[in-house]
């Protein structure tokens, strides 16, 4: 017993160190497996409130940016309104509204904090479950793809943006019709990668990339960015495309949350498949 105590005494620092590391590693691993820890994230009541106070101070300085983004969005909306269209032919252009059911609803949220230089970045928003935010809602900034909601508390929500290694989205090249998977590997926050586009596709630098609308996060046709680099490895059947992201992660102010009213239906179908 005395030997054991002496052993403990001589290794007490190492043992304390290992206990702490064990605790930290269990947090790290559990986080990557279950993604459920709320207390240790920026949307808990303490850090959330701290970011909110900071936002009150900051928001005055970013008013011009916020205004610019809103202007861009307004132009896009005006472009799509019926008044900017002219009927081509009375006989053939028939739009019957009852054929359309509303599928997506939108909601604004303010960005409280966002990182862009980490290897896994996050964005904290000031809307939570009290405002109807749910997990897996899509997030747009300036009408361009930004991320998806990962965690929600009463007043805040945490978004996994495109520039997070866990973010994957099905993306489409509208000019060729091919689709692939968009992902990010760390590094420059202005660029992401698009894989699985077959080499038969005639891709060119500058082509637009949009969401495919598969799954239940985003409506189809939301702008993601443009192709900035085309790479085809020798012997490979698929391109690796570098995409210049449309969303500007350096000046996020107000974002648009997208709710898919069909999401539960699609999710239950997905569940059916995995079973």
């Amino acid at each position: 017993m005395r030997d054991f105590l002496r052993f403990l005494d001589s290794y007490k620092y190492l043992i304390t160190f290992l206990i702490f590391q064990l605790f930290c590693f269990s947090l790290i691993l559990r986080e990557s497996v279950f993604q459920r820890t709320i207390v240790l994230s920026s949307i808990n009541s303490v850090t959330g409130a701290a970011f909110e106070q900071r936002d009150k101070l900051y928001s005055y300085f970013s008013l011009r940016d916020a205004n610019d983004i809103l202007k861009e969005e307004n132009i896009l909306l005006m472009d799509n309104r019926p008044i900017s269209y002219q009927k081509v032919d009375k006989e053939y252009a028939i739009i019957d509204d009852t054929l359309y059911a509303k599928r997506y609803t939108f909601q604004y949220a303010e960005v409280l904090n966002s990182t862009k230089t980490e290897i896994d970045n996050y964005v904290t928003l000031n809307k939570g479950s009290l405002h109807g935010v749910e997990r897996n809602m899509g997030v747009l900034s300036g009408m361009r793809l930004m991320g998806r909601v990962e965690k929600v508390t009463e007043h805040y929500s945490l978004v996994v943006p495109i520039i997070h290694r866990n973010f994957k989205v099905s993306a489409r090249l509208p000019m060729t019709g091919h689709f692939g998977v968009l992902s990010w590997k760390g590094g420059d926050y202005r660029y992401a990668f698009l894989n699985e586009i077959p080499k038969e596709a005639k891709v060119k630098v500058g082509m637009p990339v949009v969401t495919r609308g598969a799954g239940s996060l985003f409506p189809p046709g939301i702008e993601i960015g443009t192709i900035s680099e085309v790479e085809l490895e020798e012997g490979s059947d698929f391109y690796t495309l570098t995409i210049a992201l449309g969303v500007d992660m350096a000046r996020l102010n107000t974002v648009l949350l997208v709710k898919d009213r069909m999401s539960s239906e699609i999710d239950s179908l997905d569940q059916f498949i995995t079973q």
């Binding site: 007490k12 702490f20 590391q21 970011f51």
Partner: protein, 172 residues
């Protein structure tokens, strides 16, 4: 005793808030340079302070930073590594006539060359551990070395400026 504790507590919360609300959004060297100023809390602990207490302080400091960064456990783990290895570095760097009880780990007390070696060694260990854990993937190894090197330089320069400012103030 109170004189020892009050500055530590003030530094703890002050640097935690500065790190979590200001430095978190810094963008230097295109994402490769991070300014991890919060480690200054641990670097400035007294030379003879109890090692286990150091680790407890480091752990809670790291958890606090993790809350802002949404990285549960990663900064905490790196901070504990820093607190654990600090006495080892201090022992290796022992001056010829040992440390005085009043010695503080800063430039005015132990000289610039001692302080540089002390800070560079610890900052590099801390940031390399931090970025390796953050990436959690060995294919990022060289990226992490580069990141750790740049962050060490960046943090070191800032710490030297702060040390200079406060040492200057203390003399007046």
């Amino acid at each position: 005793m109170i004189r020892e504790i009050v500055p530590i507590v003030l530094r703890f919360f002050g640097l935690l808030l500065i790190q979590g609300l200001l430095l978190i959004n810094l963008d230097i060297f295109g994402g490769y340079g991070h300014l991890n100023l919060y480690v200054l809390v641990i670097l400035l602990l007294p030379i003879k302070s109890p090692r286990i207490l150091d680790m407890v302080i480091a752990f809670f400091l790291g958890l606090g930073v993790d809350m802002f960064y949404n990285s549960p456990g990663i900064h905490a783990s790196a901070a504990v590594v820093l607190a654990y290895s600090r006495p080892l570095v201090i022992r290796i760097l022992t001056p010829r006539d040992d440390y005085d009880f009043t010695d503080r780990p800063n430039i005015s007390s132990l000289g610039l060359s001692w302080y540089l070696r002390y800070a560079i060694a610890l900052l590099f260990v801390h940031s390399l551990w931090l970025y390796t854990l953050e990436a959690f993937d060995l294919s990022y190894f060289f990226d992490n070395i580069l990141k750790a090197g740049l962050s060490t330089i960046l943090t070191l320069v800032t710490i030297l400026i702060i040390d200079y400012l406060f040492a200057h103030k203390a003399k007046v």
